[in-house]
């Protein structure tokens, strides 16, 4: 479904992505793991049109989408949940969801929008309870769920997730990963996931890539990466394992 071939990207003079090639098959959950600054976020931003691609191609269902504006990609079914939960704090949970559902509203009208919001409430019960609260007053985990729900409102086929578990309590992390897994198995959603919490992410993934200073150094089935001693030492630290288990 998604295919990157030799993607290169720079921040000014710094060459951040070096010939990144990867793919995500339809219905797959794929994780990119890597240390801080390896280029994980940049990869996701390049896919969703937020970061210029200096060289290389990105294909969505065989169609070249390199350099296509982020807004257009949303209409093509790509949703990006960025690092650090970008929600609109001074707006209510409900209004945030409406904002996420702009596309649905434009194409199918008010009734369908209501319907979609209702289905989000079904998946994220806690958001229903908090629908009239300002988003800024939600807990970290609730904000992450809201960010996820907002992205899902655009009815994506491909979901790009940047560190959804960052800074969250273990129980919430567990819940978020459970939801991602559910979205894949029930809705056939395709997911590209970035995680520092590699252990938890790989457990719900089909495959994974290891990114090291902008280069892909390893590609394998998730279970193989989980048992790879080098990956274990570098990315599946003890603390993280304990958090998850």
């Amino acid at each position: 479904m998604l295919r990157l071939v030799n993607v290169n990207s720079n921040y000014g003079l710094v060459h951040v992505l070096k010939n990144v090639s990867l793919h995500v098959g339809k219905g797959e959950v794929v994780t990119i793991i890597g240390a801080n600054g390896a280029g994980k976020t940049t990869t996701l931003r390049a896919i969703s049109g937020l970061q210029p691609v200096a060289e290389g191609q990105i294909y969505l269902d065989g169609k070249d989408i390199t350099g296509i504006a982020a807004q257009k990609l949303v209409a093509m079914g790509v949703a990006h949940v960025p690092e650090g939960r970008q929600i609109f704090a001074p707006m209510s949970v409900h209004d945030n969801l409406e904002l996420g559902g702009l596309q649905v509203y434009r194409r199918f009208g008010r009734k369908q929008l209501k319907c979609e919001i209702e289905s989000m409430f079904e998946r994220f019960e806690v958001l229903r309870d908090r629908q009239n609260q300002y988003a800024g007053t939600l807990s970290g985990g609730e904000q992450q769920m809201l960010a996820l729900a907002m992205a899902l409102m655009s009815r994506p086929r491909l979901l790009l997730l940047d560190e959804p578990s960052m800074g969250l309590a273990p129980l919430i992390v567990k819940e978020i990963f459970r939801i991602i897994e559910e979205l894949q198995s029930e809705n056939g959603l395709t997911v590209l996931l970035i995680e520092q919490n590699a252990n938890a992410a790989l457990k719900i993934s089909d495959r994974g890539y290891v990114l090291e200073t902008g280069r892909i150094v390893l590609e394998a089935d998730a279970e193989k990466l989980l048992s790879n001693p080098e990956v274990k030492r570098a990315y599946l630290g003890r603390e993280q394992r304990e958090i998850w288990e």
Partner: protein
């Protein structure tokens, strides 16, 4: 259920190129970071891994030879620390210049999966009983077969070499359904059966899987008629995996190469030029999943050609033609590789310096035979009969001991053979 992993075996060719590009780029990034040899030879041609943008760019990289592997003995070509290696094998090739190959846990998983894929394609199921009549220890193949068969859920009898009569007895009593051995060993078993009056029809043997030495279609026909089983060919090399590189599908029209783990090229061994599909030349292998011992453009020495046409079995991976010859002076004798250099060193040890000699290889019926022809010269026993005889005896003993089986040694007049032909392989694989 003809496929072990249909989505991989019948993968769309375009998707396969993506998989290969990703695997190749990741492999290059790893070897550049972790293996001094590759860093050095890449720097010499001013290449960094980022320069590889397409599979075609692979052509720019230098070849890796068996000499390189020998020079980096034991661990210098390993791309992971030794503590991550869970298995070590040595090649049967050349014990004077040994080569050690390492496997990580994931390499072992891939090897097992590929062997399972291979055996399954040939018809092995969990109900089968496999008799592995290959030498454990001196070869890596039997370990691969055992793991792959167990992965399928079949029963494995790790028989190792063993006397033909014992093999036949086990085959009959244990109700072996699949025989795995060298093709010549299969013929020795056939003869043992005839001598023991065991009717192959009375056995439940259903399949033979053969490899590790060249064998032709006529030998296949002979095995099939004497053992009353279909005989399938499998190809591998310890530097990569044995088995698990290429194997026959039911169509038996070439061996499918596991292109999700290897990239194959065929080159002109003299010039190094890559030849177009369909041309015969030396097989060059690049690994795209191996962790401990990656190979970048490894020259196998085996002569084959690549067929990219779709196969009637539905598998999309390319096929290599059956391998009957090599482009170097390595001889595969009874499943073990031997070079004239090795024999030369033995002769030199006995004589002080190596005499002029020629190695003649024949295959009589069911075993490879080696004839060592040594030229008589002025310097070399002109007329001392007794000394001559003793020398011949010593050479016979030393070479036979080295190989583990009896060779023939003969002194010949000068002019009997062409000095440029150190190996004369009389075996015809038709």
């Amino acid at each position: 259920m003809p496929f072990w992993k249909q989505e991989i075996e019948c993968i769309d060719r375009e998707e396969l190129s993506q998989v290969q590009l990703e695997g190749l780029q990741a492999t290059l990034n790893r070897v550049y970071k972790n293996v001094r040899h590759f860093r050095k030879i890449f720097r010499e041609i001013d290449f960094v891994p980022e320069d590889l943008r397409s599979l075609d760019d692979l052509k720019r990289l230098p070849f890796l030879t068996r000499k390189d592997l020998g020079k980096n003995y034991p661990y210098d070509l390993f791309a992971v620390p030794l503590r991550e290696v869970v298995r070590l094998h040595t090649t049967s090739f050349n014990f004077d210049e040994p080569i050690v190959i390492g496997f990580t846990r994931n390499d072992m998983i891939n090897w097992t999966e590929l062997t399972a894929r291979n055996l399954f394609a040939m018809g092995v199921t969990k109900d089968d009983v496999l008799q592995v009549a290959l030498n454990f220890g001196s070869m890596s193949g039997p370990f691969g077969f055992q793991a792959g068969a167990e992965r399928i859920g079949a029963s494995v009898i790790p028989m190792s070499g063993g006397k033909p009569a014992e093999q036949v007895k086990v085959m009959r009593d244990f109700k072996t359904t699949v025989l795995i051995s060298t093709p010549t060993a299969a013929l020795r078993l056939a003869r043992a059966m005839e001598e023991m009056d065991v009717d192959p029809h009375a056995l439940v043997l259903k399949l033979g899987v053969f490899g590790s030495e060249p064998w032709g279609e006529s030998m296949r026909a002979e095995i099939e008629s004497r053992l009353h089983i279909p005989a399938a060919d499998t190809y591998g090399l310890t530097e990569a995996f044995v088995p698990g590189v290429a194997w026959e599908c039911p169509a038996k029209n070439g061996l499918h190469l596991a292109e999700d783990h290897f990239i194959a090229e065929v080159i002109d061994p003299a010039t190094g030029d890559v030849l177009p599909p369909g041309s015969e030349g030396e097989l060059v292998i690049t690994t795209i999943s191996k962790e401990a011992f990656p190979l970048i453009r490894f020259k196998t020495g085996d002569i084959t050609k690549i067929d990219e046409a779709p196969c009637s079995c539905g598998r999309t991976h390319c096929r290599i033609s059956r391998i009957f010859s090599r482009c170097d002076d390595v001889m595969i004798l009874r499943g073990v590789s031997i070079t004239p250099d090795q024999i030369g060193r033995i002769l030199a040890r006995i004589n002080g310096s190596a005499p002029v000699f020629q190695l003649v290889v024949e295959r009589n019926d069911d075993a490879d035979q080696l004839f060592v022809r040594i030229e008589i010269s002025d310097r070399f026993f002109f007329d001392e009969m007794k000394k001559q005889r003793r020398f011949v005896e010593e050479v016979h003993k030393a070479v036979s001991e080295f190989l583990g089986w009896e060779v023939n040694v003969r002194l010949v007049e000068s002019g009997t053979f062409d000095h440029n032909k150190q190996v004369l392989d009389m075996r015809r694989f038709v």
